[in-house]
Subunit: 328 residues, 2 copies
Amino acid sequence: MVNIKDVAKNANLSVATVSRYLNKNGYVSKKSSERIEQAIRELDYKPSSIARSLSKKQSNIIGLIVPDIKNPYFPELARAVEDMAWSYGYTVVLCNSDEQTEKELLYIERLSQTYVAGLIVTTSLMDPSVYMSINTPIVALDRIIDVAIPTVATDNRKGAKLGTKYLLTNGAENLLCIRGPQGLKTADDRLTGFLEATDEQGLDPIVVTTSFDFKDAAKVIEQTLMLHPQVDGIFASSDTLAIAALHIAHKLEKRVPEELQIVGFDGIALGEMVSPALTTVGQDLYKMGAAAATMLIEQIEGKEIKQTVLNLDAQLIVRGTTRKEAAK
Amino acid sequence: MVNIKDVAKNANLSVATVSRYLNKNGYVSKKSSERIEQAIRELDYKPSSIARSLSKKQSNIIGLIVPDIKNPYFPELARAVEDMAWSYGYTVVLCNSDEQTEKELLYIERLSQTYVAGLIVTTSLMDPSVYMSINTPIVALDRIIDVAIPTVATDNRKGAKLGTKYLLTNGAENLLCIRGPQGLKTADDRLTGFLEATDEQGLDPIVVTTSFDFKDAAKVIEQTLMLHPQVDGIFASSDTLAIAALHIAHKLEKRVPEELQIVGFDGIALGEMVSPALTTVGQDLYKMGAAAATMLIEQIEGKEIKQTVLNLDAQLIVRGTTRKEAAK
DNA sequence: TTGAAAGCGCTACCAG
DNA sequence: CTGGTAGCGCTTTCAA
């Protein structure tokens, strides 16, 4: 492997000058620059980012911690993060935490042995102090960890209220809310939004809790729907959950949206693929991921951080699991 | 950050001895070991993997190159790779190539600046020589690059034949094959398998080509189905494509599986979520990813490689988009 | 069984 | 504007 020394020799300059050229800091004469460029081309020199990291005590690796990349929500985020990172010359390390605090902790520990430049975390089950205490730039994506930590998230309460109201406007009367795991902030907030909307109408909806696992969810939903056949509107705390509901509706031969309307939350691509396509409260996932990456990189590079919290509004995406807004 | 020198000082030993202890090579007396352990605990010392990489010219980073992590096929692979890597102490860098040779090349170049320990690649659009020439352990996953490169893949021809035959056995007579992009080995092989099955029956099926993009595929399928309403069996080159077909079937109000049967290929989780659930030729994605990672790590660590090519058989997974095997 | 010291490739300070 | 050189933290001879 050719190194900076070889380049220096070839260009008849010192290592220091070449380094200065490479980092575009300090003075290098036009002539020297040309000689260096020439040498680099000739030798096909590639700087070692490891060596650079060691001496700068700073790498260009970003850790992305997600609960499970198989959950269709996260690849969309991951893709955006990766795109952004790539364009800034960073590289992203993928970490699956399985929502386990312990595994996440281990990851953080391992990553910090590598001088990770920063962390993007889509989790909040953990004590905020852990994140605050690690001495690495960090941004929370999707889930808020602490007000002190830069965050990109969606206003879940507001979005849920929006979706629920739409269901109500469309004539649904017996609502069911399928909520995600207890204690998960996003799920809690979405429930709050749902309840706000139903409360306003003086309704008394059913609420069931489930994990995000498709099969678990399907089971819970099936039981609930059997028990409460009058349900004609479902607000699900995620698109996956909504799709599970749709699946069960088919199984129970309930017509969607005629007999049962469903609204999801997230806006994953999958929602367009099912039949009928899913009406949902959609977030701009790509935008979120990209924003988080940008925010992190700005932090890493010590730039003025314009905005430390980005709270996005979700939009209603009307597709096929709700009736056309009828009597209004 | 506490370093090896601090530990050595604290343990009243030399840096060399501590290093030997850390790497479990060379002699270290029982007593010294204990002192070192003690010091490590006391100081909460974490070795710097960057420094280690620099001096060993070897990192613990594995690059995983996929076309697009948003394609639901890849997260399942990625998850397995990551799990395996994690358990061996490696870290995986996620790279999206978008099926673009150029981007892939850039990635490989960038990764090689980091002493990546190895590469797992799910692509084959590129000239094999590129992979052979980079001086890094590599394994091809899902798509075969070259016989000389260790590979984990599925027997696509055989699987496709299996799926098509099943369609035929179940009474489908007018077959349509939705094949993936031309020139993509996996797609080509699956077409071959499909044709073998139809040829045996002296059939003359329709074949259409599409990209893996859902919307593109849906459009192509819709046109085809309008043009050839007699089609009563579809073999799709991937589950995503099959789901697109299912979507269009609903749109055109064709009953599945009564009027139209569909068989996919891949076995992604998504297949179970749609309604009716997708009958498919399934691969054990997790196993594939895990095997690829293991194979790579064995290569990296210079272990005897038991097996350099793993060719798995796909299994028929009968679900709801085909009729129950009737007259047989 | 241990330690001194020479790198690994690059950055950054200081002197010229 | 340029070069010498001391690290960055760790591994690995080579001697002792």
